[in-house]
Symmetry: C2
Subunit: 362 residues, 2 copies
């Protein structure tokens, strides 16, 4: 079969790879029908060697498809089922999964990630391939509701498995609910997902902060009520207050999570509000110079972190089945599997109009 | 009347002060029957000038008493009622009060605090005095349930108005619930309050970390299941895991909130858990060198902050009325009002056996 592989920083290729096969009774093999390129895949493209990616490692954790084969101990899906694949493998049984905290599952793995990161579940190859082995299939695969279980609806379904789960996580971990005011920092796919989910949750003001006209236009289409383009915290404070009866946002979803974005988040959040950090800039090991005095006396909660995708996917599929969310417009670009390296380059180069690349296989 | 006043760093006195009187129709005057000295009063004793305390300012925000007189627009209490006085004045009507976030009340004031801090509600004198003017009495005063509305039960009631509300806030903001594991950093009155409240909430393991044998002994009496005396984060991690089936605490209540205590809190908390910061060390303006990578990939929520006392007092009085909490043992020392300066010195000097000083007036 063919799959996208890593061969050193800046070098990904589509080539013949070993067939996916059942290795454990709890495995399934999924025929991948559509996969997406994630912002975090670009981190791998650029710095995969430092993360421990070996030559030949297969990438990709955002994919959906049809069950091809199941192991003897798989009970919730059958061959032929159209499925969403949680970007993270989780067991569903451990103390963390039982608490809804699948990111900390004792057997957690991310598809297509380096063995020394998120490796509890052992080696799990990526899904930007014709087929993928899915461990712990009963808790990692989700049968797609009939309303969206067709090839035509794949662009609605695919974002749910990671990027929409991530936006949703920002809102849920931050305590968003109907009538609250939400500010989203970042106009990438995660930011637009948070905007779109905020509308589904029933937020009142939904403020999207970014620096790309095309993406902010899409944000307005997906649910944003206001857009903000400044990076100046004082201006952010002022503009967000104008949009929120003078108070600031109940929940700020910070999809960047750099020192600068955190300072903007502090400016945007109201007293008693939450900042949900979803970005990977924390990984750089810095200690952001945020104002702890302000954080304390304004009762700002800082939350977010890794995403329990499997915990959210059923709810998100329900919203999609009922037409309350449709993230399809975020997949701005469709390519075939063999063109995946070009897709990586387009996203890494922030090609105009390219928010997110989908790879269509079948 | 007599009241405790500030006269410069290190100098508090009991002297004749102007009588408390009704100034607004929403005011009440309370005859104070018992007041306590708070750890934050010691900050005032030591550094009040820097906070903006003027000579003659009356101190104290932990007090209870009997309603002496009410303004024409006070409806929920009457003269003769025994009342708990929330340490913070709040209106009960603004958007923040309506959300349970009284710390951000647009008319919030703290009794006995400097005008330039927490001043929205205007000048409010302290309650370590024979009488106190209570603004916004309908939402700042709480009638005491019959079961604990007697002079003999004052030591059970008094801690609820601030120190127990603070411990409770740590648990509630951190999401504590029945069966969860709680670690408390600090064996002062707030720490022991958090321990005691954790037992009332139905926590499983309750680990109290401190460095005073007498206080840790009291912690065990109030509900702690384990005590930890090391300051070394690696040892904290190990000991807390031993007490929590290998996972760490769901909620860490950090009553110190210094860089060192935050590092201990990170060591104690489990993936997906919360750290509630309750201490005032944030006020020093430092940026604690905590591990943001760890915070992100282990989904640690940082919360806490100022306390919405009035939001918690009815629940805490209910617990006390039903005998589910009784914080009276925390009031280790009883003095008269005229001995208050000596009480400040005893607490500031960490006199052996002195956890918290209560001033009895009547």
């Amino acid at each position: 079969m063919r799959g996208l592989t890593f061969h050193g920083n800046g070098d990904v290729r589509v080539e013949e790879v070993p067939d996916a096969s059942i290795e454990q009774p709890t495995d399934a093999v999924v025929r991948v029908t559509m996969a997406a390129i994630c912002g975090s895949d670009l981190h791998v493209l650029q710095s995969g060697e430092a993360f421990g990616f070996a030559p030949g490692a297969r990438l990709g954790h955002e994919f959906i498809g049809v069950v091809e084969e199941v192991g003897s101990d798989v009970h919730t899906v059958s061959p032929g089922d159209r499925v969403a694949v949680a970007a993270g493998v989780s067991c569903g049984d451990c103390v963390y999964c039982q608490e809804g905290k699948r990111y900390a599952c004792t057997r957690m793995s991310m598809f297509g990630w380096a063995p020394r990161l998120w490796r509890h579940g052992g080696d799990v190859q990526g899904g930007q391939s014709q087929f993928a082995r899915v461990p712990l299939a009963d808790s990692t695969l989700f049968r797609v509701p009939d309303e969206i279980a067709s090839p035509e609806r794949q662009a609605t379904l695919l974002p749910l498995v990671d990027v929409m789960s991530t936006g949703w996580h920002g809102l849920i971990s931050g305590g968003a609910g109907p009538g609250c005011d939400v500010a989203v920092i970042g106009d990438g796919a995660v930011g637009l997902s948070a905007v779109h989910c905020a509308r589904a949750i029933g937020a009142r003001s939904i403020i999207c902060m970014g620096h790309h006209d095309d993406r902010l236009t899409l944000a307005l289409r997906l649910g944003a009520t206001h857009t903000v383009t400044t990076r100046n915290p004082d201006e952010i404070r002022e503009l967000v207050r104008e949009a929120t009866d003078g108070h600031g946002a109940h929940v700020v979803v910070d999809t960047i999570s750099s020192e600068a974005s955190m300072q903007g988040a502090h400016a945007a959040v109201r007293a008693g509000g939450s900042i949900a950090c979803l970005g990977m800039d924390h990984f750089k090991g810095q200690v952001p110079a945020i104002n702890w005095y302000d954080q304390f006396v304004r009762n700002i909660t800082v939350t977010g972190g890794l995403i329990p995708m499997g915990h959210y996917i059923p709810a998100l599929m329900g919203l999609a089945a009922r037409g309350e969310v449709d993230p399809a417009p975020m997949l701005t670009t469709r390519l075939g599997l063999d063109d995946a390296p070009e897709g990586y380059r387009m996203m890494a180069g922030r090609a105009p109009g390219v928010l997110k690349v989908a790879l269509e296989f079948g």
